[in-house]
């Protein structure tokens, strides 16, 4: 229900004004949509164009004489994108497991137990959102190098098993809404604390767990600075490093675009399939912050 519907029985003239405002809104939004989607269209079009079309001027605007030949050329011959896709998928899967486990445990601790210093520690947790990776990157690089972790997946995977502040916050907000009668009843039945976390908190928080899993997948897939610094060898590179590498090879555009489309397609599909989780997850972060 929108704001304009709230006005009951408006006079005819204001109704007409509402209508014309609606028309303006739709026109503006439709124009914005076209502009927003134009680069997506052009990159897809270029990726499907044979070389002579891709380099034609004036450039190709309509989908004519399309070909899929650029894809195998870019993905297999120029750089080993199947390897990059596999690496990225492994990293993302491990990070999702790590974040779901650690963040839900920590969030349960913050949401459902009283202990000295809890609220102060929670403020510390929120304030670590102000310490971006770049500020910590030099010491982390030195640490991971001393541990022999550079050029393994460990630097980008292990931290997830120790919790991510934003996700801990999201899960805590969700855990706080679970009625305490349920927890008390389970305790009376002799359930252990771990059992309550596993059998009550997690099953009742599926939407937030799904939102966190999706955000984690997206962030891991799109991550650049961390992999750039920690994953320098070809065997451990991720898809975004592959795209960057392709750019550095001065590869032909239609081939670069084929790689771009391939590497972003999973994220676009993720969004189209799970749209409501994006909207809900972002909504919670924004409102209670």
């Amino acid at each position: 229900m929108s704001a304009s519907d709230a006005v009951t029985g408006p006079p005819r003239s204001s109704l007409r004004r509402e209508r014309s405002f609606d028309v303006v809104a739709v026109v503006v939004l439709a124009a914005a949509t076209l502009v927003m989607l134009l680069p997506v269209y052009l990159m897809t079009l270029t990726s499907l164009s044979p070389a002579e079309r891709a380099f034609a001027y004036p450039p190709n605007l309509l989908p004519t004489s399309l070909t899929l030949a650029n894809y195998p050329e870019a993905l297999f011959r120029l750089l080993p994108f199947p390897l990059y896709l596999r690496n990225t998928a492994i990293i993302a899967a491990l990070v999702i497991v790590g974040d779901l486990l650690s963040c839900s445990l920590v969030a349960y601790g913050f949401a459902r137990f009283r202990f000295p210093g809890r609220d102060a520690l929670f403020v510390v947790l929120l304030s670590t959102l102000m310490v971006p990776l770049i500020v910590r990157l030099v010491p982390l690089f030195v640490l991971f190098q001393k541990l022999g972790w550079i050029n393994t997946f460990l630097p980008v995977v292990v931290p997830a098993f120790f919790g991510t502040p934003l996700y801990i916050f999201l899960m805590r907000q969700s855990f706080l809404t679970i009625p305490s009668e349920l927890i008390d009843a389970a305790r009376l039945d002799g359930a252990s604390e771990i059992g309550i976390w596993w059998r009550i908190m997690l099953p009742l928080s599926k939407p937030v767990l799904a939102a966190v899993a999706i955000f984690t997948l997206q962030n891991t897939w799109n991550d650049f600075l961390g992999p750039l610094v920690f994953l320098q060898k070809n065997e451990v590179r991720t898809v975004m490093l592959g795209l960057y590498g392709l750019m550095g090879m001065f590869a032909d555009w239609h081939l670069v675009m084929a790689a771009v489309v391939t590497t972003v397609a999973p994220m676009v599909a993720l969004f189209l399939l799970f749209q409501k989780f994006f909207v809900k997850g972002l909504a919670v972060t924004g409102l209670k912050g």
């Binding site: 929108s2 704001a3 519907d5 405002f21 609606d22 739709v26 939004l29 914005a32 927003m36 989607l37 680069p39 997506v40 990159m43 450039p59 650690s102 445990l105 920590v106 601790g109 913050f110 137990f113 009283r114 202990f115 000295p116 510390v124 947790l125 310490v131 770049i134 500020v135 910590r136 990157l137 030099v138 010491p139 982390l140 098993f161 120790f162 919790g163 799109n222 650049f224 600075l225 610094v229 960057y244 750019m247 670069v256 771009v260 590497t263 972003v264 994220m267 676009v268 969004f271 189209l272 749209q275 994006f278 909207v279 972002l282 909504a283 972060t285 924004g286 409102l287 209670k288 912050g289």
Partner: protein, 291 residues
């Protein structure tokens, strides 16, 4: 029971506490300590006192330049990005039929990683046969060397970054959705028109979402890196040399870990000051209570 509860509480948050020490607090302490050392990566750090800071503030033109470039980006990008997100959210919130499709379409490019956007735009902006100069040529404008122009490069990067407008837009939409309709009813009974409703109902009720978006956007914008790294590597003539790119060069191209630590420490202090000031300034007018 209380003691048992306390122990369980600490046990559950233990993973985060360990991670805090290992991956956040520890590194932060190390950054400040190493900022007072000369640390050429392959040999151990040696104490040099304030020397790194002295060089940064008195003897390093690129420090100031990268800071000014970054401030330019933050100052221009945050208002544009959030302003656009706010307008889109207001228009989308009217709940017209079929509007969900437009919302999806506007959010969709936000799924594109920065690296992908940078790669795509570098190609679209090609001066000879790129699409952008073709389109501007259609309306009679002369071709521009977008990526090699000191004047254009920062506006171009700000412009490209606006393709992620969907993220703050969704936060605004959620905020708009949580404003009770009675407030608008009351306002319109009091004779408030659309403009006054926006000023006296919508914006005050939206202040938590506005504050959140501003803080997150400022923090993120200070970290602008990949656009310049992929498209221009800081050029032309350092016009897109942003602060994080400058840290990256000292740390991972020159391996001056002490100097890079000092630069990182300064960035941390800047972000800290901005966040604290924004929170302080916002406190009197942010409306947290729900009606």
């Amino acid at each position: 029971m209380a003691r048992r509860e306390m122990l369980w509480g600490y046990a559950f948050i233990a993973p985060w506490l360990v991670g805090l020490l290992a991956f956040t607090a520890g590194p932060l302490v190390a950054v400040f300590y190493w900022s007072f050392t000369d640390y050429p990566m392959l040999s151990a750090p040696t104490w040099v006192g304030l020397d790194n800071y002295r060089r940064i503030f008195t003897d390093d033109d690129k420090f100031l330049l990268s800071l000014v470039n970054t401030a330019w980006y933050v100052g221009v990008r945050v208002p544009l990005h959030l302003g656009l997100a706010f307008v889109f959210a207001l228009l989308l919130h009217r709940g017209l039929r079929g509007i969900g499709l437009l919302r999806t379409a506007i959010y969709l490019p936000s799924m594109l990683p920065i690296v992908a956007l940078a790669v795509v735009w570098r190609i679209l902006l090609d001066p000879r046969i790129g699409y952008v100069n073709y389109f501007t040529g259609l309306i009679g404008l002369p071709p521009v060397n977008w990526l090699t122009s000191e004047v254009w490069i920062k506006p171009v990067i700000v412009g490209i970054s606006l393709w992620h407008v969907g993220v703050p837009m969704v936060v605004f939409l959620a905020g708009l959705g949580s404003i009770p309709d009675q407030l608008y009813e009351a306002a319109s009974i009091d004779g408030a028109g659309r403009w006054r409703q926006l000023l006296h109902v919508t914006i005050p009720m939206l202040t938590p979402a506005i504050l959140y978006n501003v803080i997150i956007d400022v923090i993120n914008s200070f970290q602008v890196f990949a656009y310049a790294f992929v498209m221009t590597n800081g050029g032309p003539n350092d016009a897109s040399l942003f602060y994080v790119l400058y840290i990256y060069r000292h740390a991972f191209e020159l391996f001056q870990m002490g100097y890079a630590s000092a630069l990182s420490a300064i960035l941390f202090v800047i972000i800290l000051i901005f966040t604290v000031v924004l929170l302080k300034v916002a406190r009197p007018w942010v409306q947290y209570e729900r009606v």
